[in-house]
Symmetry: D2
Subunit: 340 residues, 4 copies
Amino acid sequence: MIIQLDPAISEEAKAKITDTLGQLKFKGTEVKTQIGDYLVCIGKTNIDIRQLGFLPGIIDIHKVSDDYKLVSRKWKVNSTKIDLGDGVVIGDGSFSIMAGPCSIEGEENVRATIKHLKENGVNIMRGGVFKPRSSPYSFRGMGIDGLKMWYNIAREEGIKIVTEVMQVSQIEEMYPYVDVFQVGARNTQNFNLLDELGKVDKAVMIKRGISGTIEELLYSAEYVFSGGNEKLILCERGIRTYEKASRNTLDLNAVPILKDKTHLPVVVDPSHGIGIRDYVDSMSLAAVMAGADGVIFEIHPLPEKAASDGQQTLDFQQSAALIRKMKKTYALREEFEMVV
Amino acid sequence: MIIQLDPAISEEAKAKITDTLGQLKFKGTEVKTQIGDYLVCIGKTNIDIRQLGFLPGIIDIHKVSDDYKLVSRKWKVNSTKIDLGDGVVIGDGSFSIMAGPCSIEGEENVRATIKHLKENGVNIMRGGVFKPRSSPYSFRGMGIDGLKMWYNIAREEGIKIVTEVMQVSQIEEMYPYVDVFQVGARNTQNFNLLDELGKVDKAVMIKRGISGTIEELLYSAEYVFSGGNEKLILCERGIRTYEKASRNTLDLNAVPILKDKTHLPVVVDPSHGIGIRDYVDSMSLAAVMAGADGVIFEIHPLPEKAASDGQQTLDFQQSAALIRKMKKTYALREEFEMVV
Amino acid sequence: MIIQLDPAISEEAKAKITDTLGQLKFKGTEVKTQIGDYLVCIGKTNIDIRQLGFLPGIIDIHKVSDDYKLVSRKWKVNSTKIDLGDGVVIGDGSFSIMAGPCSIEGEENVRATIKHLKENGVNIMRGGVFKPRSSPYSFRGMGIDGLKMWYNIAREEGIKIVTEVMQVSQIEEMYPYVDVFQVGARNTQNFNLLDELGKVDKAVMIKRGISGTIEELLYSAEYVFSGGNEKLILCERGIRTYEKASRNTLDLNAVPILKDKTHLPVVVDPSHGIGIRDYVDSMSLAAVMAGADGVIFEIHPLPEKAASDGQQTLDFQQSAALIRKMKKTYALREEFEMVV
Amino acid sequence: MIIQLDPAISEEAKAKITDTLGQLKFKGTEVKTQIGDYLVCIGKTNIDIRQLGFLPGIIDIHKVSDDYKLVSRKWKVNSTKIDLGDGVVIGDGSFSIMAGPCSIEGEENVRATIKHLKENGVNIMRGGVFKPRSSPYSFRGMGIDGLKMWYNIAREEGIKIVTEVMQVSQIEEMYPYVDVFQVGARNTQNFNLLDELGKVDKAVMIKRGISGTIEELLYSAEYVFSGGNEKLILCERGIRTYEKASRNTLDLNAVPILKDKTHLPVVVDPSHGIGIRDYVDSMSLAAVMAGADGVIFEIHPLPEKAASDGQQTLDFQQSAALIRKMKKTYALREEFEMVV
């Protein structure tokens, strides 16, 4: 059960609500976000909403049968739209394309990528500066200096930045230069990181765990939301299965399931999802038709020279063709939705 | 290596080829299909094709680095088109829609379904008469009498039949009434069944195993082809993973991968693939964009009363809407392909 | 619910029971095995056993909450013992060791293997004469003639034979030469084969499917049992997972779970389970401690020259050492069980 | 390639080695641990060790074909023994039993548990004070105060403590009260946490990821080792598969494989691994026979009242019986190893 509180509620009224909840054997956790003030109430018994609804300071009460609450569409029926500023939005009827290299490699590369993005009407750029690597001896990214360099060029050009944050201590130093904090697949259940991102007022994109369930992804989003941050995006990026013909098994089933269960926008990463350049195009278009709110994919001026993940990276010509096709496919999907 | 033989080759010339292969430490398996006469040659060493090419009776020689040979696109670059007669074809530029109930239930149901299919321009009907069931106490289908009843109505109406064959002994009795023999996910590696279907001159659709790899599916097709039957269709129907939010994990990645590796048509079954009615629509459209040659899905006049699989079955209204959208989506895909 | 019938029950009494069941909205399937006469009753409602118990011809009635019935330990609390004749038994307090090559290769190999088994007190030999192979071009075994050759030597020496049957049509020709019919991992859900093996009076060992669940294995056993054959053995042989450090993931968890859920003996195949020779020893001993009723493993006089699966096959010296250790480990397990 | 350096090496000599490595196109990472000073060298070409071996300051050079280096048994053939002080050691011929509740719950519970452990000769206690939970609304543990309370009692009684650290910022506050830092299954690839634990001089036990490969576990250990900490223990705790009859699939195959590939001790957690109380006993004994250096399991005075994981927790009577059996089983294993 979620109780929406009047932002101007008095401490006295709040105490009265908590007290009544206790008598009904419910435990309430107060959640203040950029947008609202909520009490998430967990209990085992059924409750008659009328026992609470008359109390002062309550705007609305929603029963939510899912175990995750704030991210559930059972509570918030309308899709969430996230505003990155300067007219760049994600979710709720917009279709977001995000592209860029696996790793930020240098100024020349950043400038070339941004030029390509602008020519193709894309205004969000992805790229890693802190790279999680299985082996401690692999390249771990350009770090905070790379991020600053990237930011300076991107701001000039009106491009938004999505990049991975790997640990709590990076949040503060990265904050001024980031538009969307990405939580990587190895950190989906790094609950301390999620807690801290709940305190930030910038958007957070959570990737599904390497073998994470859809439900776990929703719970991870609940962590950030209940920490105070509603600006959440979910990302399907392929799961680990026995099949070795593709790097991962991009699970497009997750798209309609997530769109049904949550009001948050859902983005698909076909580059990591299938992991082979030649198939990124097909899976991107499939993602659009499956109902995704956006696609995030890897590009590089010279994929075979990329510092990492070259085998799944498109060159600019392939990227331009894909962007054109995605836009047409999305237009057709919108047509379908209007009819229904 | 595949050697295409002259259909009029003499026994003497054939013996000469086999002899030469033996000297080169290759073993040749002769494969006669409806269309051609081949020697599939397996060996461990490299071979200089010129050592063979001059021999009489040889039309062509193809090196194939894949372990499966006859189904590989490395040998046969052009996509295969399967002709079911009366202008009904599968593969190579046509888009095939196949729909019908999980189990054939009775004459009335069959008539209603065929009426619906014809109204929507669909000419292939799916349905089970022999049903593989985990429990020996479940309904196992109407059997051969159900098939005959279905056939009589379908023939009248110009509708083609695709239905599952579960064992070798059923092939003969089913043969007159079937257009496409379906090999179910539990029988993908029933090699005796595959061997016998190699001797049949009707089309065979092989479903991917419940946790079968893409490579195993290609090998299973190689069994049928090397048994003498080139009329083969592959079907992605979802794999078993840890994720329990969907019945199976429909693996659309398999579509572009299979289309790249084999010349055979690839069909997708979203009904079993995701297993939940509300999501069949999205996954069907995604399958079209992923590059499928067709979609096979479950419909029923009253899904909630279906003898089996009702939870993943569309009613006729949903089916009609889906068919319309798939056609439009396929038209857009064709437009993309023409440009490229 | 399982109703045990008096073997001398009259047709009239039987009709009366069926009739009463119908009134209670239950459907009874009569199952006659080598040992008993049962009515397996499936219904959706609760039943008061007293409504049936007074009817003539009924010996006993057992409620079974599992969906599989005849193989459930909820009905038959005592473990099943299978008698192969000549004092060779499987299950219920005996520990069975079965060893032999992956494929039967020739008389010399068979004689050497049997000599080794007898020297080490083992009286069941495994070996394949019909081999399921992913590729149609691989060696498919010596066939029925190989089986006859093997049988002639084994009978002389008092050794029992366990070997795989791949299809219904092989049952009759194999029958005289086989002590235990093995159903392979690719055929666990070949329901026609299971149905037919229900009509045989020889033991059947069912391997768990390549990605079969424990419940599906029990259902497959239920097929054979409900077909009339109680002489059933279950075999854990590794499942397919994402982990590639071993050929399969031998799932020893299945041993205590199966021993808890069914009265049938449970055997473990570590050779296919882990698939690497050096680790077969450890996993065999682990299987004993996990509670297995037996272990089946692959041996060959010269593993590196074996026709198939050499990399997971022990030589005779390794085999002798393993057999000694398994016996000591089993003796310790028996000691533990006696205390409890 | 690993170069062992003389601890008294001069900066000049070190520069000379680095220089020579550069000429050979190798990159050396210096690793100083509690025990030694190493250069881990990564390169793509083959190298003739004689080009380096004559340089001053080098004690020894080992070629290591594995991609992980310092944890590989190819370099360090002898098993690692970890000394926790007061005669408590893990690995290399000792067998370690660690038991305790899932969550530390209070002083009374701690005292009762320690009493039970001491009566049964166990000197390492497990327990969680920081609990990773899927839902933000679940109990997250007693925190640092719980750890201090536990420590005070444990030190009095001579009991060592193993407990989970979830984030970098906890390391310092937990340090005085912990004997073994546990890295949980959700943090196996939290590379920042691993980096920081490399700087600590206390033992670290890394659990295999929820669907982590064996190789990834070794890489995670390489992170800590290359960070400077050799006191490492690996823990198999079950992987995520499609099988739902057990909570996880305890992968005992990992035990002989890890023991073969690394010199580090390997411990098994059957409580999380199978997740059902009745089967913990069998899987623990199986783990001993598979070659584990220890077993870690969950106990509670009243399992059904445990704050978390009660369904997989043993009571003290079950625990005492299991400890007795594990010791006898380990004694038998030692007997086997002596013979071989």
